[in-house]
Symmetry: C2
């Protein structure tokens, strides 16, 4: 049932207060009101309720500076223990689990090397249950509730139905994972494409605040993309939008991990770069279809120090990326294209060819005013985004639960 | 200043009533209420006000059928004379002007052959002013007001700033046309890409109602596209989104009218088909860079009746279109791709290659559940859409003006 107007407004204001406290840290009541356009009477009433529910706490005023006038203000802040969320990031042969508290801070992180491609759907689900369960047992002591789980997955997912449609990390398809985990852990489960988690973190940074139409390209083993339209991830009809890695550079071109030919990924991903260079160079062997970070760093070093064969390989990758980005500019006309991911290590060796390719592909009117930038990669960004998105998705439920508890 | 809550709601309900009457024709008050979720008291009050303002009229009840029970209902309908809008469609060497009444019906249409490419920006603006002025003098007698003008343009436009950024019909660029026309005719001027006008008409058809993410591709002299996301045209950061014709099929490929190489348009547009076929066939000359409808029909006929050279030309066009559509599926994941425009005359000669190319380009998970269909072309669709969009954009103003007049 829909809430009556005044309750809806109170509810929205309360959520706004929680999110401001999460974004800004400790804030005085008067500033909370100003930041959210809420009267001070309403802020006082909301914060009294949140205090009673144990979702926020007061922080004693700091000693005023000698020059300060008036009484120092009491700050309020989220109680980090009020709830927690778990983000599970799935990539090829690795699972990362991160615990985030109610204030959005990472409290625990662990990596597991797992032969993900060898798992059956059932074994994968059982493994996730075990790992999440172990984290809950060991890391969730002291938290009042597990509000939700975010599953951040490389590949095509349907957030709506909670199904992993296709991931390069898994050999099976169409796995309805969210429902099973939700039942097991009695909480909501958010299934997200990993690039959308990263875009969420980047879009929250003040320096990107003026780019509402933001495209984030993730270079790495595969190539992912997130398209934010007015700040909201664009998912398409069934979640498979923004599959930039499988847009085409060259019909009948290089073989892609997806099985088709000519995808941008088949030129500019880690495995494609390594494969192209290995045709001409003596490279360390190992699993050359899944080159390690060390292997990729060694290869990048060759390109950056002037080895002509590797330079040509990276230039061809840059050209494929540039043509792919030209299509993104023609079709999405974004404010900003941000290139990141572990593969950004090789961006300096690609970018001249990348920019030339865009200029070659598009007249200036279609290139438009879009900025194209790279940004440093932090492997924890995915889970940071997953935690933020899981908290955002569960704030309403956490509020409802804590109201019921404080009344009961 | 924002209206207080109850006024906003009353205003929204009044607009909803106007739009229902436009979509459905004459409707009884009770049905108007049911269709819009408004109480019958509110409908009665709104319709009394609209009657007084001269925006609607009552239609005497029709004679009840012998089987009908109860009193026949009085129907209300929009007064078509309450306002009108003018849609001006600009294409290469042609300008079409259409007058639409307040009920959305076309009341007048005229075409002018004009050497658009030879005009300076100033001459173009003067010409538009003259043509619109003549239409106003001759065709707007009896209408209470000119509510707005819609300019439907082939090419890249910024609706927000009212600027034609780049059109294949014009040899100049960046023409801030809306402001000048608005001042001259004292009404609001909507600048739209022609494909968005067509998508607006198609999306309103009941058979496409269940496809909120709709891509419309227009084949013709050039190749245009409109992307509706939840029914709303997607414009991008500065209006140049959805430029499908200049997305790439083949780096270093065929020369495009834009000056770059390898665009989808350079293979599948009218001029590209005619150029490719003319390399091998004795075709009627004339302006082969701008083949006429007759020339294109003759060429299509050759392909459809089995001439192998022309068949290969259309198959290559179908393949380029297919690869282009594959990128659209990978990036937008729409519910439906509708192919129309005058060039759809040759669709039967392209579609086998088109579907093969999509299958060749994309794994089944990325092809997704998107339907790909063609739909018959009606050259008046652009102006129909322009009229609908201009009325929709000006209903609020028309309402306000008529309130002021009926009070004053």
């Amino acid at each position: 049932m829909a809430l009556p107007f005044s309750d809806t407004s109170r509810h929205d204001n309360t959520l706004a207060v929680i999110r401001t406290l999460r974004d800004q840290g400790p804030v005085a009541r008067v500033d909370l009101g100003a930041l959210n356009g809420i009267s001070s009477a309403t802020v006082t009433s909301i914060s009294a309720e949140l205090l009673q529910q144990g979702l926020i706490s007061e922080r004693p005023p700091e000693t005023p500076r000698p020059s300060g006038r008036g009484r120092p203000k009491t700050l309020i802040e989220l109680d980090p223990q009020a709830a927690c969320v778990v983000c599970v990031k799935l990539s090829i042969n690795e699972i990362q689990l991160v615990v985030g508290d109610f204030a959005g801070q990472v409290r625990h992180s662990e990596h597991h090397v797992v032969p993900t491609l060898a798992l059956s759907a059932d074994a994968f689900e059982t493994l996730l249950e075990e790992k999440i369960s172990a984290v809950c047992d060991q890391q969730l002591v002291g938290f009042q509730r597990l509000a939700g789980i975010c599953l951040a997955v490389q590949g095509v997912v349907s957030s709506q139905s909670g199904t992993i449609i296709w991931s390069p990390a898994l050999s099976f398809r169409n796995a309805p994972i969210s429902a099973r985990l939700g039942e097991r852990f009695h909480c909501s489960v958010l299934l997200e494409n990993d690039a959308n988690c990263i875009a969420n973190v980047l879009a929250a940074q003040p320096k990107y605040a003026n780019y509402p139409n933001l495209v984030v390209i993730m270079l790495g083993y595969g190539i992912g993309m997130s398209v934010l339209i007015n700040g909201v991830p664009f998912l398409g009809a069934n979640g498979s939008a923004a599959e930039f890695g499988h847009s085409k550079y060259q019909p009948d071109g290089a073989l892609c991990a997806c099985g088709r030919r000519g995808c941008v990924e088949a030129y500019a991903s880690d495995y494609a770069l390594y494969r192209a260079a290995a045709d001409h160079l003596e490279l360390p062997t190992g699993d050359s279809a899944h080159p390690s970070e060390q292997q990729m760093q060694a290869l990048t070093q060759l390109a950056l120090t002037g080895d002509p064969v590797t330079q040509r390989t990276y230039a061809e990758a840059g050209r494929a990326l540039g043509y792919g980005i030209a299509n993104v500019l023609a079709l999405f006309n974004p404010d900003l294209v941000l290139i990141t991911g572990s593969g950004v290590r090789g961006f300096d060796a690609m970018q001249t060819a990348l920019h030339s390719a865009i200029d070659e592909a598009l007249v200036v009117e279609l290139k438009g005013t879009t900025r194209i930038e790279s940004c440093a990669w932090d492997r924890d960004m995915t889970c940071m985004g997953g935690i933020a998105m899981a908290l955002h998705a569960t704030d309403g439920k956490t509020l409802l639960d804590s109201q019921t508890e404080s009344v009961g």
